[in-house]
Assembly symmetry: C2
Homo-oligomer: 408 residues x 2
Amino acid sequence: MKYSKLFPKTQKASPAGAESVNSQLLTRAGFIHQEMAGVYSFLPLGWRVLNKISDIVREEMTAVGGQEIVMPALHPGDNWKKTGRFDSFDVLFKLKGAQDSDFVLGPTHEEIIYPLAAEFVSSYRDLPLALYQIQIKFRNELRAKAGLLRGREFLMKDLYSFHTSDEDRNKYYEKVREAYLKIFKRIGLPVVETKAGGGTFSDISQEFQTLTPSGEDIVYICKKCSHAINTEIYDNSGKCPECGGEVDEEKAIEVANIFPLKSAFAETFKLTFQDEKGEEQIVSAGCYGLGISRVMGTIVEVFNDEKGIIWPETVAPYQVHLVGLDLEDKEIKAKVEDVYNQLQAAGIEVLYDDRDARAGEKFADADLIGIPTRIVVSKKTGEKIEVKKRNEKETEFMSLKTLLAKIK
Amino acid sequence: MKYSKLFPKTQKASPAGAESVNSQLLTRAGFIHQEMAGVYSFLPLGWRVLNKISDIVREEMTAVGGQEIVMPALHPGDNWKKTGRFDSFDVLFKLKGAQDSDFVLGPTHEEIIYPLAAEFVSSYRDLPLALYQIQIKFRNELRAKAGLLRGREFLMKDLYSFHTSDEDRNKYYEKVREAYLKIFKRIGLPVVETKAGGGTFSDISQEFQTLTPSGEDIVYICKKCSHAINTEIYDNSGKCPECGGEVDEEKAIEVANIFPLKSAFAETFKLTFQDEKGEEQIVSAGCYGLGISRVMGTIVEVFNDEKGIIWPETVAPYQVHLVGLDLEDKEIKAKVEDVYNQLQAAGIEVLYDDRDARAGEKFADADLIGIPTRIVVSKKTGEKIEVKKRNEKETEFMSLKTLLAKIK
């Protein structure tokens, strides 16, 4: 992609109203645009990051047998009245449809997937079943000032699994837990597994928390055994419930969670199956959320410096930021274009700064955008290419061949 | 994918409330599930089709220089008040946000993209600019009984282009027109280019209509010169406005449209640029819609028989439907599994019916689901594989090697 064509260009000043580091940097670098508090457009660079995160999540959900579907954003209000959450669910968007019927904008999808599963699951032979989606969700937040960390509209992956027994569910729960750890490892985002309360529909749950001073959550981590718990189950004793050791209080962002669900939803929507003896049993279920857009915001909160964003390689919008300098020199220009074409031909994703602008401006933009590898072709670089990692100070000079071998 | 694991299985009877052919067949075959009138979940098979259509559209939009973004579903009501469409737009979903602010669920995105473009476009150097998204849209339809043809929530591609002059816009308009024809050719869906009125914001527009008795639109096609117009600009004379020839009246489904936009939106949102002389000019724009989920429904309306759906190859959920018979015979079972593995290893998408079910049931399901190539491995087929095209009666027997060469 030629930077001269990319929409939009970077901005020098932080936009009004962007209070969080992630919204400031992502907006200035041209990844997102705020449409109102908690509601963003994802611009070309941001769309690419969102998709890279989604694709990693998709691969790992498929690997644990999840089948991808997409459920609607618009829910019939009746389903929410059946579970009692039409009135009790915090920050629920409600609206009126034709014939004055009640609709809900889905903040989660139990009210859709349970009746859906109930329609098709009748025998133990239909189980286990794991369905997931990557879909926008809505919450009517009173306060939405944390950029992508707490939106009124946001992108989430939610997986739901259905089983013949709690034992089978618990085994699957463990598989998804491992899949989550793999996802965050691939994305390059450190997480702490944290025990949490279960709310109304679960006894206990597990959160995946990224420690950072900008987090809105609090987690308590044992200095001795590293066991982590959230505020719901912390008893204020200052001691670890596992080993009695002292705990540290840390701020964190919840990027994912997993819930073994109690039988309330299954009972409401009659999600039952006939077991091998022909007896009717209630289906056991789990729910596994992961905030795709929140992960994007969290990465920026954690990986940045005074110059801009520092993307992990697997989710960077492009692999290489090619800075062409001295482009008024036809020979140099031809060389830069050749490097650009050869990198692309090798299947490498390149953002090529082809503008007629000063070196300082181009380097500042490259640092702000945060692509992990920056390469420079100029009069000074001669036959070689100057290569610099975004998170390192030193530059190296190498041939295109060596560079290609390194990146591949 | 093993059919025994696929969610859900086919249904024999049409679901209550499914009045249209597309919703009947897609529901029975397990592609979609109606959550309420005009609102559907896309199940694994349906999700795959939707993605294949989206990917073809994405490729052709990128080829004409479109940059992909994603704008929110939730719009600030103020933007819609500025254009007057908060009150005038038919079937607009409105809702209240925090602090009692007005929100709109986007049925189209001019109210978002114009202010967005206005923020970044200031000079002729920033133009032309083409941005598109594939995003869910909402319409509070009073009557939503046509399955995927007219939904309350539906998936659309919308492209917006911005230019320094109407001439430049018209040239681009022509490029998108050709891209649309290419898309429909690739998808395998016949369309008639139809002249139409422009509504409030355009003088004239062009529709891409698929002729079918189940269409809700009427188009008039000249018997002599094939020129087609819609009801808005038809003068009831029975004559073609181009050549005076007699016209046929046909029912049709509008699958896409393109609009050269008048300057109203640009004026409202101050989308202007400085030309080469430093004078401020209004930006010229075009809007190009294509209904992704509607295209899916239209394909089913057009390509079906008494047995089920007949997918065009490029958008079928899988390329091959492998029916294994006599699976209680261990040798046969091993052979089927080997064929399944070899097809997959060759990069071919296979739905493998591995169930312990009768041949008749498996064939009926294959016909209903409508994957273009059905292959059978059984006692009877011996060393060969039986191959049948969904839209042909005859079967052929060939080796796996020949089959692989044919599909590739």
